[in-house]
């Protein structure tokens, strides 16, 4: 997913769309397994390191949805067709902040925490990992509002602070594993079994 979105950001759209069609045609439905279903939230300006995503999956989780800059955030809002192209592009930026609020924009039309809870419920994610880029002030300021709502909704979550360079895989995995263990232990075993079937 990351690769698909990231490449779409830099490639010629027509070329990318053609390739994307091939990818979509090649997809088959996969039966649901017992991996813990997670939502990734955050990373507002750049892509998380691929090793980080791999480390999360290695712990036994599957990412079912996200609001990352190089993920859903990018494809969440279309450019309105017709009219002045430049205005349409500008409109798309404004619209995107309403459909998927970004804390770098001081806007009040919609609230990120509402949107987050809505999509978590829609995807059936069992937990959320908040990926916070170190020194991202808007995210640091907004995070407690997300946390408050997730706690109110009883959605387990984990905050991981990331850096541009370097990734302490071992520490990350310990934290992710602890989250998964917490999700496992608070989920009655029979429910897990039902999911498996």
């Amino acid at each position: 997913m990351q690769a698909l979105v990231k490449s779409s950001m830099v490639m010629d759209k027509e070329e990318h769309s053609a390739l994307l069609r091939q990818v979509v045609d090649g997809l088959a439905e996969v039966p649901r397994d017992d991996r813990v279903r997670l939502h990734l939230s955050g990373h507002l300006c750049h892509a998380p390191r691929p090793e980080l995503l791999a480390a999360i999956e290695e712990c036994g989780a599957i990412v079912v949805d996200d609001d990352l800059f190089t993920g859903t955030r990018y494809i969440t809002t279309d450019v309105p067709e017709g009219g002045d192209p430049v205005e349409a592009l500008a409109q798309r930026y404004l619209d995107r902040d309403a459909t998927l609020p970004c804390p770098t924009r001081v806007k009040h039309e919609s609230d990120w925490e509402d949107e987050l809870v809505r999509v978590v419920e829609a995807s059936g994610a069992q937990g959320v990992i908040v990926l916070m880029v170190r020194f991202c002030e808007p995210h640091m300021l907004y995070y407690p509002e997300l946390r408050k709502r997730l706690n109110e909704q009883g959605i387990p979550h984990l905050l991981l602070e990331t850096e541009h360079e370097g990734l302490p895989v071992e520490t990350v995995q310990t934290r992710v594993e602890a989250l998964l263990e917490r999700i496992h232990r608070s989920t009655p075993p029979h429910r897990t079994l039902e999911v498996t079937r």
Binding site: C59, G166, T171, T174, A178, E181
Partner: protein, 293 residues
């Protein structure tokens, strides 16, 4: 055949092993000092603990490893993080526990438990050894005493000196310059303990204050560490009889709960846990922690 459960906690400096009987009572508990993470030390601790319980490896019904070196432990059913194990262990050892403060050789954690003893939330110290067992080693070296003597000295100190460097690297020079200025060892020890407690209170703030509070891990054996934490929290802090074994105890309990035989959700294999290079972001240094292997 009666069942026996094995919990192994392979930490940065010690290996802890607990064997439980079918009813969950402790049959044997073993702590081995290693100096560095070592498979051999761990294997030795396991053998000794099983000997004490009069058991062979084959008598073990289920086993779980935890701790920093959990993936190095051989012949184990599965692994759990220290967070889950310390939470489980403390909740069983001290029923009603809502907050576990675990300070080990090189990390510290605040673990919030719900009223059923299940982990609700946790926070870990970030990337460096500030406020951990490693940090107390630095203190002992600077004021030239044994680790065991720290508590006695700290509890006699009455002056509150400002310890600005919580980084293990810089703290040493700072402590030495305090000595050079004629400050008493007792006061220095007390001030360092107080500073560590302040850091720990900050860590606790990240998960939210709850009580009763239980302190686990090797540092909990230091009476002064618990004393100053209680002072900082203005709340009672309970230290179980053997705070070091709580993680292994929790692991054994989880094995007994059936987690050891359950489908391995994490899909882990026992591989070499590489020591991560840690950049301590509050200073300019890059430290690789853990001893030589």
């Amino acid at each position: 055949m009666t069942a026996h459960y094995l919990g192994v906690d392979l930490g940065s400096t010690t290996a802890k092993v607990v064997v439980l009987d079918e009813g969950g009572a402790i049959e044997a508990a073993e702590v081995v000092q290693m100096g560095a993470v070592s498979r051999k030390g761990c294997a030795q601790a396991m053998t000794t603990a099983l000997d004490t319980a009069g058991l062979h490896r084959g008598d073990v019904t289920a086993s779980i490893a935890t701790g920093y070196g959990r993936r190095l432990v051989e012949d184990i059913d599965r692994t759990f993080t220290e967070i889950t194990c310390h939470g489980r262990g403390a909740a069983a050892m001290c029923p009603g526990t809502r907050l576990v403060v675990d300070i080990g050789g090189q990390d510290s954690k605040a673990i919030a438990l719900d009223d059923e003893g299940i982990v609700d939330n946790f926070a870990m110290n970030d990337r460096c050894a500030s406020g951990t067992g490693r940090f107390f080693e630095v203190l002992a070296r600077a004021i030239e005493c044994e680790i065991d003597e720290l508590a006695g000295l700290a509890l006699q100190g009455d002056k509150d000196l400002e310890v600005s460097s919580m980084c293990a690297t810089f703290a040493e020079t700072e402590l030495i310059s305090m000595l050079a200025q004629g400050e008493r060892r007792e006061d220095i020890a007390a001030s360092v303990h107080r500073a560590v407690a302040t850091r720990t209170v900050g860590l606790i703030a990240q998960v939210g204050r709850r009580s009763p509070i239980v302190m686990t891990g090797g540092v909990a054996r230091n009476a002064a560490a618990a004393h100053f934490l209680a002072e900082g929290m203005q709340a009672e802090v309970t230290v179980p009889e053997s705070p070091q074994i709580i993680g292994a105890y929790g692991a054994a309990l989880l094995a007994r709960d059936g987690a050891g035989r359950a489908a391995v959700g994490a899909g882990e294999t026992t591989t070499d846990a590489r020591e991560p290079a840690r950049s301590c972001n509050t200073c300019d240094l890059t430290l690789t922690m853990g001893g030589p292997r």
